[in-house]
């Protein structure tokens, strides 16, 4: 054995025993890597704390990370969960996995985006939007409300992601909160009657609308922005500005209870909640909307100029669980 000792040690170090080196923080994020990675790199550069991140995949949108967090519950490996949507942290909250922390940097973030107990805090938001293909829909005809999607004029030409997954599920649950059970069901029924195409992800919706395989689709601001940046013949509508408003979905950050680096976790959360990060994310390609109303934005309308759908995220999360059986029925799963 003795003569192999050196090799064994080399192998071990090669396999990446990184534990011994300095400060680090482990973050799992379901925010798109394209946008979250530069922010984390910046934090690394700034504070000298090494960030070890796991990003989520498009294919298994937000499920890999949350499944992993839940599976690791008894021996947490993550310090921080940066969620791209406002509902998944509540799943962890329900399982008692969050460590409350009220960041001093969050003081100027509006109360509706924060947990009063400090379990989770929102920042930079996306909203739901309609993306339409300019070759298929003329300027005057553009749908201004999601209820226009029920119009027989768009029969078979509307696309949306599977309402069991991702932000679409949150959107639908919010509709149930705002419209009430009955009207929301009617809306979904109407969509189905109008031949809505249910596809795997928002990215798929974007792809279909960009390529003219669907005329109009529901998605998030960042997907829509990317279609514009790719130079597709598309336009964005913030729906229902004269009615129920559009759903605002902030990012959320929370600290995992029992994580290995609690001190560094707090530093990272402070950084993420700073005005600077909101500005950065607003200027990035995804053009996220700062929650601080005074932050200047150029690429998208500021939140102060939009009519948001008035929802309580905890209620949305609860509603989502209630309506899953119905949604399962609706999608045929």
């Amino acid at each position: 054995m003795g003569k192999y000792l050196l090799e064994v040690i080399l192998l071990l170090s090669f396999l990446g025993w990184t534990k011994a080196e300095g400060q680090e923080v482990v973050v799992y994020t379901s925010e798109d890597r394209l946008f979250s990675e530069p922010v984390l790199k910046e934090f690394e550069k700034r504070g000298g704390i090494k960030v070890r991140a796991i990003y989520d995949t498009e294919e298994a949108k937000s499920t890999g990370i949350v499944n992993r967090l839940i599976a690791e519950k008894d021996n947490p490996r993550a310090d921080v969960f940066w969620s791209g949507d406002p509902v998944r942290p509540l799943l962890l909250e329900k399982r008692g996995m969050l460590e409350p922390y009220k960041s001093p940097h969050a003081i100027d973030i509006p109360e509706i985006y924060k947990d009063e107990g400090g379990g989770w805090t929102g920042f930079s938001a996306r909203t739901r939007v309609l993306l339409y293909n300019k070759n298929l829909i003329k300027e005057g005809e553009v749908t201004q409300s999601i209820f226009d999607l029920l119009n027989p004029r768009w029969k078979g030409q509307v696309a949306m992601a599977n309402p069991l997954f991702g932000t679409t599920s949150i959107h639908v649950a919010s509709l149930f909160c705002v419209l009430g059970e009955e009207r929301a069901r009617e809306f979904l029924k109407g969509l189905k009657a109008n031949g809505v195409r249910v596809v795997s992800s928002n990215g798929e919706v974007k792809r279909l609308v960009s390529r003219g395989e669907a005329a109009v689709g529901l998605m998030d601001t960042d997907d829509a922005r990317m279609a514009l940046l790719e130079g597709r013949p598309v336009g964005i509508v913030y729906p229902d500005q004269g009615g129920i408003g559009t759903l605002v979905m902030p990012n959320m950050v929370c600290i995992i209870k029992g994580g290995p680096n609690p001190e560094e976790a707090r530093q990272l959360v402070d950084f993420l909640l700073s005005e600077e990060v909101e500005t950065r994310l607003a200027r990035a390609e995804c053009a996220q909307m700062p929650l601080r109303p005074w932050t200047e934005v150029t690429r998208v309308p500021g939140l102060d100029r939009l009519r948001p759908m008035l929802v309580d995220y905890r209620e949305v999360a609860k509603k989502l669980e209630e309506i899953y059986p119905y949604l399962k029925e609706w999608t045929g799963f």
Binding site: G16, R33, V66, Y324
Partner: protein
């Protein structure tokens, strides 16, 4: 241990299973069955055809065809599906071409690709390389003198029908079963194309309800069915003759010279190559092609490239070694305990990657000591590879041992060889072609593994498939394509080196 990871992942109770066998689940199951059967059929037809051309004829450009035809299998299936959706969707380039034909509408083609039939086509095209590789190996393994004996009585067609194919059947069926199980447990393609199958159902349980117990319980039908298929195969093959060892009895393989047929057959190969490789690749790249995209993709890929190579190579070598050792014991002793082991390993093969990932976390993510160390490092990724793909490696190597006449190894035993010398001096050199094949397939599997790796990968480290799929969300299409192409090149490079090397050293050809 392998078995344990599955058990720990599940530890399901009776209630979870009660809901498994419902009518709706039955329709998912039938869809899965349809998808798996059709794709296996397609993969088998193409695979046998190409395997025959590569292994038994003098078709030109073999050295190029061999690695290129592996490409559909190397492209991650989700990306491959995306490429086909691009091609055949309403505004797709191929759709536009085809819909000019009579009786074909753009709508019809688009509906086709988003149906179980379209998904079967995509999967069949993605998986035929497995049958091709295995069939080629089996064809080469048929002793030339047997075919020559047949030629005295009948034409080449009859010899192929009555001698060559029956002799190679064992290997071909083995490949077919692997394709079937892979298609049966495939998630990406049906999910993308909106085909409701059992795996997407399991995924829903996991991602929507975070209900690992129900999800694991849902794996039961998959697993049971896989067991059924494998049992049928065993029974069926048990009565089949073994292939002779070509190199043993004369070192020769009979070649069917194509003569004038060279041109049409080469054209057929090129057509398949275009359909299965170039068209999808072109559609990936067509969107845009810029240097900037590659620069960006490279900076993203960074350590992922090295990791994929290093861990793919280690993983494939581990798997091949495991296949060599376990395959030996499985075939040599066929005792109840080893048979059980072989069986329980086959079960793992049918279990979706996410379930295995969660199982591994539960098993290895414990405070302190060795398990802590393993879970925090790349070792856990290797374990994931081994757990997921060892059934495959053991199966391929086990089959290979059967090709070696028993007396060959007995002669060594009587001549004083212990287990080690038997392996190194007798089996290894004789099985080199099969070892190379197993290594190649294992490498492709490992290098492309996503579902389990994403769940257990140590934070801050990653392999290329993870890079690709995390980048996919919202990155410009060109960067995604560029990353996909980098992945292809990284996987293909060692294979080309190996295949070129093996055609130089004639004996190594699989």
């Amino acid at each position: 241990m392998l078995w344990g990871s599955f058990n720990v992942g599940g530890s399901p109770s009776v209630e979870n299973y009660r809901d498994v066998f419902t009518r709706r689940n039955a329709s998912f199951f039938l869809n899965s069955l349809l998808l798996a059967s059709l794709s296996t059929l397609l993969a088998t037809l193409i695979g046998i055809f190409l395997g025959f051309l590569l292994g038994k004829t003098d078709i030109p450009l073999k050295w190029a065809l061999r690695p290129l035809l592996l490409l559909p299998f190397i492209i991650p299936s989700y990306i491959y599906g995306l490429a086909w959706a691009n091609l055949l969707g309403k505004s797709g380039f191929l759709n536009n071409m085809l819909s000019n034909l009579p009786f074909v509408t753009a709508e019809g083609i688009s509906n086709f690709i988003y149906s179980p039939f379209g998904a079967s086509m995509v999967l069949g095209l993605a998986l035929f390389p497995i049958v091709m590789v295995v069939a080629e190996g089996s064809f080469i393994g048929v002793n030339a003198s047997l075919e020559e004996a047949g030629l005295l009585f009948g034409g080449r067609g009859r010899v192929m029908r009555e001698v060559l194919f029956p002799m190679a059947l064992r290997g071909i069926i083995s490949g077919m079963v692997v394709v079937f199980v892979l298609a049966f447990s495939e998630f990406g393609v049906p999910f993308l194309l909106g085909v409701k199958v059992f795996t997407t159902k399991i995924f829903t349980e996991f991602s929507v309800f975070y209900n690992e117990k129900t999800a694991t319980a849902l794996c039961l039908p998959l697993v049971l069915f896989t067991v059924l298929i494998m049992t049928l195969e065993r029974i069926f093959l048990g009565a089949r003759p073994l292939e002779g060892l070509a190199r043993g009895a004369g070192g020769r393989t009979y070649y069917y010279l194509l003569g004038k047929g060279r041109i049409p057959y080469t054209v057929a190969c090129v057509v398949i190559l275009c359909l299965s490789v170039f068209l999808p690749l072109v559609s990936l790249v067509m969107d845009s092609w810029s240097l900037g995209a590659y620069v960006r993709a490279f900076s993203l890929a960074g350590t992922g490239m090295v990791n994929t190579l290093v861990f793919g190579v280690i993983g494939a070598s581990l798997l091949t070694l495991l296949g060599l050792i376990l395959g030996y014991f499985l075939e040599k002793y066929r005792l109840p305990p080893t048979r059980e082991l072989g069986f329980s390993m086959l079960l793992l093969f049918a279990v979706p990657a996410t379930v295995i990932g969660v199982g591994l976390i539960k098993l290895w993510n414990r405070p302190g000591g060795l398990s802590q160390w393993i879970y925090g490092t790349f070792a856990i990724i290797l374990i994931g590879y081994v757990v997921r793909f060892s059934p495959l490696a053991v199966r391929f190597m086990g089959d290979a041992y059967r090709q070696v006449p028993r007396s060959i190894s007995e002669a060594a035993e009587v001549s004083g060889a212990g287990w080690w010398r038997l392996m190194v001096r007798i089996f290894l050199p004789l099985l080199i072609p099969r070892v190379v094949m197993t290594w190649v397939l294992s490498f492709i599997f490992c290098a492309g593994e996503l579902g389990t790796t994403i769940l257990v990968c140590p934070p801050g480290n990653e392999t290329l498939p993870i890079t690709l799929f995390t980048v996919m969300a919202n990155s410009p299409a060109e960067v995604v394509s560029a990353t996909a192409i980098i992945l292809l090149v990284v996987v293909l490079l060692p294979l080309i080196v190996l295949l070129v090397l093996s055609s130089r050293v004639g004996r190594w050809q699989y």
